[in-house]
């Protein structure tokens, strides 16, 4: 269809001797926000790079492969590898996006650390390297986007060996790595459990926190593991209390009804004790846990709460100045003690879902 008469002349006139086109400038500026395509594209790109074997990643892979093989040899070989600054290289390469390089590195680190108790005795001065390696391993397990579990689970045997060391830093990072690995679907947790990697007790809070977190994760499957935790809740250091609260709350959120019942029957509702603490994050975690417990069998636990000052503690939180706490509190009270008769409001009421034309 041809343009209307007046439009034609206008189009021509607007293009006459145009130099700087402000509209175009605007578009260009908007286009320049290339990151608009954003993480979506970026993440896909990363995943694609996992696949694409560019010259660089080929080289990295080969280097890693060679190092792994050497590290797999005698302790002396391992020593050579480490003394030649391989661990920092490993650390660096772990950031590599390429699939096969990462995999190779996990093996390499496994070999190094497999040798490491001996190695640590042999060359104490170089312990920092093992620390680095463990740290990088934990980073690798944490990486964002999360590396494929197929890959990271290769680290489990390594971690199993590492948690028997006595170096606090190594232990801390190994426990963190475990906590990342166990932070996932049930199948993953199952794999972690099956690997027999269970964090040991340790006097240092820095070790205990990730250890507890791992236990918290594992608790999803095996609530029995919680019982020993309820005890620390009453007298441990605050940081540790926090982790325990988290572990319990977590167990309540994913555990089956049976598991939650079991959990509560162990020792009443221990979470209430923490409702008076000062850290809003812990309060929130506890409230969430309580909410989950109430969901399971309201009548039983509502009474329990009434009788243990729990309800009073919850009610007091209505005046808390943290908004999230306030809202969760009100929600719990409204839902289970019915202070407000109104139905919970849906997010938005729409007459038609989408009008696209």
């Amino acid at each position: 269809m041809s343009l209307r008469r007046s439009t034609r002349a206008e189009v021509r006139r607007n293009r006459y001797k145009v130099t700087v086109d402000a509209e175009e400038g605007r578009w260009r500026r908007e286009d320049n926000m290339k990151y608009r395509e954003g993480l979506l594209a970026q993440q896909q790109l990363q995943q694609q790079q996992l696949l694409s074997s560019t010259a660089d990643s080929e080289k990295n892979f080969e280097a890693a492969w060679v190092l792994t093989n050497i590290a797999a040899g005698t302790s002396d070989n391992t020593k050579v590898v480490i003394n030649h600054g391989a661990v920092p290289v490993f650390v660096k390469l772990l950031a590599s996006l390429t699939n096969n390089v990462r995999e190779q590195l996990v093996w390499a680190l496994g070999n190094v650390s497999g040798d490491s108790p001996k190695y640590c005795d042999l060359a104490r001065g170089h312990a920092s390297m093992l620390r680095n390696a463990t740290w990088s391993l934990s980073n690798f397990c944490r990486g964002k986007p999360r590396a494929s579990f197929e890959l990271t689970k290769l680290a489990l045997p390594t971690l199993e060996r590492l948690i028997h060391l006595n170096d606090e830093e190594v232990l801390t990072d190994a426990c963190w790595a475990l906590s990342y690995l166990s932070d996932g679907t049930n199948e993953k947790i199952q794999v972690v459990i099956e690997a027999g990697v269970c964090p040991r007790s340790h006097p240092s809070p820095t070790v205990l926190i990730p250890a507890l977190r791992t236990v918290g994760n594992i608790a999803v499957i095996d609530t029995g593991i919680i019982a020993p935790l309820v005890n620390p809740l009453q007298h441990s250091e605050f940081e540790i209390k926090k982790e325990v609260a988290w572990a319990i709350s977590n167990a309540t959120s994913v555990g089956s009804h049976e598991q939650v019942k079991f959990l509560v029957s162990e020792d009443g509702i221990p979470l209430c004790d923490l409702l008076t603490c000062l850290d809003p994050r812990i309060i929130t975690v506890c409230l969430e846990g309580l909410e989950n417990i109430l969901k399971v069998e309201f009548n039983v636990y509502a009474d329990l709460l009434n009788n243990t000052w729990g309800l009073e503690k919850i009610e007091n939180l209505q005046s808390h100045d943290n908004n999230e706490i306030y809202e969760t509190t009100v929600k719990i009270l409204e839902t289970y003690w019915g202070e407000d008769e109104d139905e919970p409001q849906p997010l938005v009421i729409l007459h038609n879902l989408v009008s696209i034309l």
Partner: protein, 870 residues
């Protein structure tokens, strides 16, 4: 049952505002109280020969406004309202309208014509009012000239209102016969002939079948060509307008007539009055447009898979066409460069010459060069200007090999003319020509580059000096600098402009402060050029760009120190704020691109954000698009720290999302929500309830422009990716909206524009799915997505089967398949295996020539094989 509306309609045109307001209120009230009676009364008023002409006209206008509106949703409401109106009332109204066509009062007739066309526009597509065309046509042959003229006019408007497929060929034939008869030289009445010629203009779109028939086409073409020779100038103009329309609608049918048309147009260009001559030139411009499109579609491979072949009319006409156009260049008006509305033969001819150069390339050069040489140094400014313009207009199209030798000779002359020519018009065109040299011949592969170390200094000195010239010349000089800077984009670490950077920036800032910078869009040009200079600058000048930050901030600050402003001043101030925000955006992007500069820049972040917030605050109802964009850039540069600005910024974000009226603002804001999500990641959670609620409302609204809907879906993806499993809260809502949009967008048939829209919609939907899958990946809540997987796979299969997706959608779609497999893993294995997408579609993508599609497909393949094997 009719009501008395005459007095109210008279009052509605009173000079007394209060009376007018009162009358308008009454009209609104009538309409609300009893619509059928009100509309019948209006049509009665229009048809009543005893009523004053003003009330008849206004009655018709109010009636017309009750049938049609500019806003799509309002229009839709009015159409529905009319369709459901009482049948009796509608018959009465239509009878009145048709009767009015025979009125002796010309205003009444012409108003009735337009209203009839509006009613027809609603009813004909619903197969209602079938007798309309018949009764109109029966008039034509019997009635007095006035009624005949009104009827032809009605047919013209009708063709404008309805689409060709709702009128069957038999009726089209009758309409065309009546119209062409009315146009022919045997029609003695000038008004009738004019009305018929104008009606043909609108009816041409209906004449596909007739133009395929040699005899009918010959007849129509003969009548149109004859009309171009009518003694009445308005008829000649209307006839040339028909030719212009034919040139684009029926390009492929023109070969037998092109020689005659050339003769007719050449005569009109040389001898006829300006409105006619302009149309005659437009005919050739339009042919150029067609051939440029066709040749572009050929795109180098001459297999000719374009639907329409190129007839090379321009190439054939070249030896006669170019001299004719060159002549027009000499017919400049004195101050056309200062007059924004100017449009004359010289401008139209110059435009056409540029299009001809783009159509034929090298062939035009030898035809124009002698004209340039002949005139460029003449005493008369018109000749110098025409020669310069001719040179400027052939710079796009011909090959650099052909042009560079010419430019190398001319450059020094041009640079000298820009400062020394006594005529401002010549300087204006010279600066424009320099800009085109830099635009089209930069980075050319030919050995002798146009800009060398040697003349760079001179070029910049001359351009900066010209920025002090009259606003129109200064604006062109800015433009030349703009393209000069653009030529050094991504040049590497060093640019020849580096030594002059400071001086250039200083000069541009000086231009922005000129008293007369409001004329000829000079201020805008100066800021846009500054942006370009910054954007294309290298690391060497990063410290200078940093120094610019407080300078621009201060400028913006000054606009905010407001005294009371008039609405006119306020508008100007807002425009300036937009320019400054745009400039800051470019600077933020530039400095944010490398860590060291970003680090230093961040010291200003708080203050800049404060200024942007104040820009919003000084507009009461709406937010500033440019400030919004700049904030998006700032969020990207700031990352998670942007959270500290959110409490204050959030209300403006919400305001932007609610701005349906200025939907571009809404669209920009949706984009900024994406930027902020990426920057804040989990820290956006506290704002998600509000944002998601608003976005869902926007999706459901039929008042928000449709172009904003696809980015809203993409934005879901950004948010899901940012907040991960926290998105659970919105999952059900987002997925329902996505699902219904997905269903709607699977099959949409329509014109190219609708297909393009559909694809952008699909892309938005797919990006949302992608973001959601990736956001939930490795979360214990992944299984929440499983119930949605079948539908998503069905959607992928559906759009694959439609075979109308573009490359972008294809890439995103195959990516979603990969994300689905990757996130859901074995849960989705068998579902995936059953889908068409995982086989045919995947294979098609794997063998795609588009690298992006191929890569996405390979990733999807891997993800699927993992999902299946586990």
């Amino acid at each position: 049952m009719a009501m008395e509306v005459t007095q109210v309609l008279l009052n509605a045109q009173s000079i007394d505002g209060a009376v007018r307001k009162n009358a308008e209120d009454s009209l609104k009230q009538f309409q609300e109280q009893n619509l059928p009676v009100f509309l019948v009364s209006l049509s009665g008023e229009l048809a009543n020969e005893e009523k004053p002409v003003e009330t008849r006209k206004l009655a018709g206008l109010v009636l017309k406004n009750a049938l049609d509106a500019k806003e799509q949703h309002r229009k839709f409401e009015l159409v529905q309202r009319w369709l459901s109106l009482d049948g009796n009332a509608k018959s009465q109204i239509k009878a009145c309208l048709l009767k009015t066509l025979t009125s002796p009062v010309s205003d009444a007739r012409s108003t009735a014509s337009q209203v009839i066309a509006k009613v027809a526009g609603i009813e004909l597509p619903h197969k209602q009012w079938p007798e309309l065309i018949g009764s109109l046509l029966s008039n034509v042959h019997q009635l007095p000239a006035q009624a005949k003229q009104a009827t032809l006019e009605t047919l013209g408007y009708l063709c404008e209102e309805v689409s060709p497929d709702v009128i069957d060929q038999d009726q089209v034939n009758k309409i065309l016969t009546a119209v062409v008869q009315g146009m022919s030289s045997s029609e003695g009445n000038t008004d009738v002939r004019l009305a018929a010629t104008r009606a043909l203009y609108n009816a041409l779109g209906f004449a596909q079948a007739n133009f395929s028939n040699d005899m009918e086409r010959d007849y129509i073409m003969r009548v149109v060509c004859e009309a171009t020779l009518s003694p009445e100038v308005r008829i000649r103009q209307a006839a040339f307008e028909c030719l212009v329309s034919i040139s684009s609608t029926y390009y492929e049918k023109l070969a037998p007539y092109i020689q005659d048309i050339f003769n007719i147009t050449a005569k009109a260009v040389r001898e006829d009055e300006e409105p006619v001559a302009l149309q005659a030139i437009e005919f050739w411009s339009s042919i150029c447009d067609e051939e440029i499109d066709i040749l572009e579609e050929y795109g180098g491979n001459f297999t000719g898979d374009s639907d329409i072949p190129c007839f090379y009319f321009i190439k054939q006409a070249l030896p006669a066409l170019v001299p004719m156009l060159l002549e027009t260049l000499l017919k400049q008006e004195e101050d056309q460069d200062q007059d924004e509305g100017a449009w004359n033969i010289a401008m139209a001819g110059g435009t056409c010459l540029g299009l001809v150069a783009r159509t034929v390339g090298d062939d035009i050069v030898p035809l124009v060069v002698p004209f340039i040489e002949e005139n460029i140094s003449k005493q008369d400014w018109r000749q110098r200007e025409a020669a310069t313009y001719a040179f400027g207009s052939i710079l796009e199209g011909p090959s650099p090999e052909k042009l560079i030798p010419l430019v190398n000779v001319a450059l020094t002359f041009m640079l000298s003319a820009l400062t020394k020519d006594p005529n401002s018009h010549v300087k204006d065109t010279t600066a424009w020509t320099l800009g085109r040299i830099f635009e089209f011949l930069r980075g050319s592969v030919v050995d002798s580059p146009i800009i060398s170390q040697a003349n760079c200094q001179q070029i910049i000195t001359v351009l900066l000096q010209s920025m002090k010239d009259t606003p129109n010349v200064a604006e062109k000089a800015c433009g030349a600098l703009y393209f000069l800077a653009q030529g050094y984009e991504e040049m590497g670490p060093s640019s020849p402009l580096t030594p002059f950077f400071q001086e250039i920036v200083q000069s541009l800032l000086t231009v922005t402060h000129r008293e007369d910078a409001g004329e000829s869009r000079l201020r805008t040009a100066a800021y846009e050029t500054l942006n370009e200079v910054v954007r294309c600058s290298t690391d060497e000048t990063a410290p200078l760009v940093l120094q610019l930050v407080p300078v621009i901030m201060m400028e913006l600050h000054n606009t905010l120190e407001g005294q009371k402003l008039s609405s006119d001043e306020r508008e100007k101030q807002s425009e300036l704020q937009g320019l400054l925000c745009g400039c800051l955006q470019v600077i933020i992007q530039k400095l944010g691109a490398s860590e060291p500069t970003k680090y230093v820049f961040m010291q200003y972040a708080d203050q800049i954000m404060g200024l942007f917030l104040r820009v919003f605050a000084c507009r009461s109802a709406t937010v500033h698009e440019e400030a919004m964009l700049a904030i998006g850039a700032l969020a990207y540069a700031t990352g998670a720290d942007f959270a500290k600005y959110m409490p204050e910024f959030y209300r403006y974000l919400e305001m932007g999302l609610q701005n349906f009226e200025e939907y571009q603002v809404c669209a920009v804001t949706v984009g900024v929500v994406g930027d902020i999500s990426r920057a804040l990641e989990e820290k956006i959670v506290p704002y998600c309830d509000g944002i998601m609620t608003q976005l869902l409302k926007n999706l459901s609204s039929n008042q928000l422009h449709r172009s904003v809907k696809p980015p809203i879906f993409s934005c879901f993806g950004d948010i899901a990716l940012a907040v991960g499993e926290y998105f659970e809260k919105y999952l059900m809502w987002a997925m329902s909206a996505l699902q219904s949009a997905a269903e709607l967008s699977t099959h949409i048939a329509g014109d190219d524009e609708l297909v393009e829209y559909t694809n952008s919609l699909r892309n938005g939907i797919l990006e949302a799915y992608s973001g959601i899958f990736q956001g939930f990946k490795n979360s214990p809540k992944t299984q929440l997505l499983i119930p949605y997987a079948p539908h998503i796979l069905q959607f992928l299969d559906g759009i694959y089967m439609e075979k109308d997706m573009d490359d972008v959608v294809m890439k995103t779609a195959i990516g979603v398949l990969g994300d689905l497999a990757d996130t859901l893993g074995s849960h989705a294995g068998s579902m995936i295996q059953q889908s068409v997408s995982s086989k045919d579609f995947l294979n098609e993508c794997l063998s795609s020539e588009d690298l992006m599609i191929k890569e996405s497909a390979e990733w999807a393949k891997l993800a699927i094989s993992r999902a299946i094997s586990v």
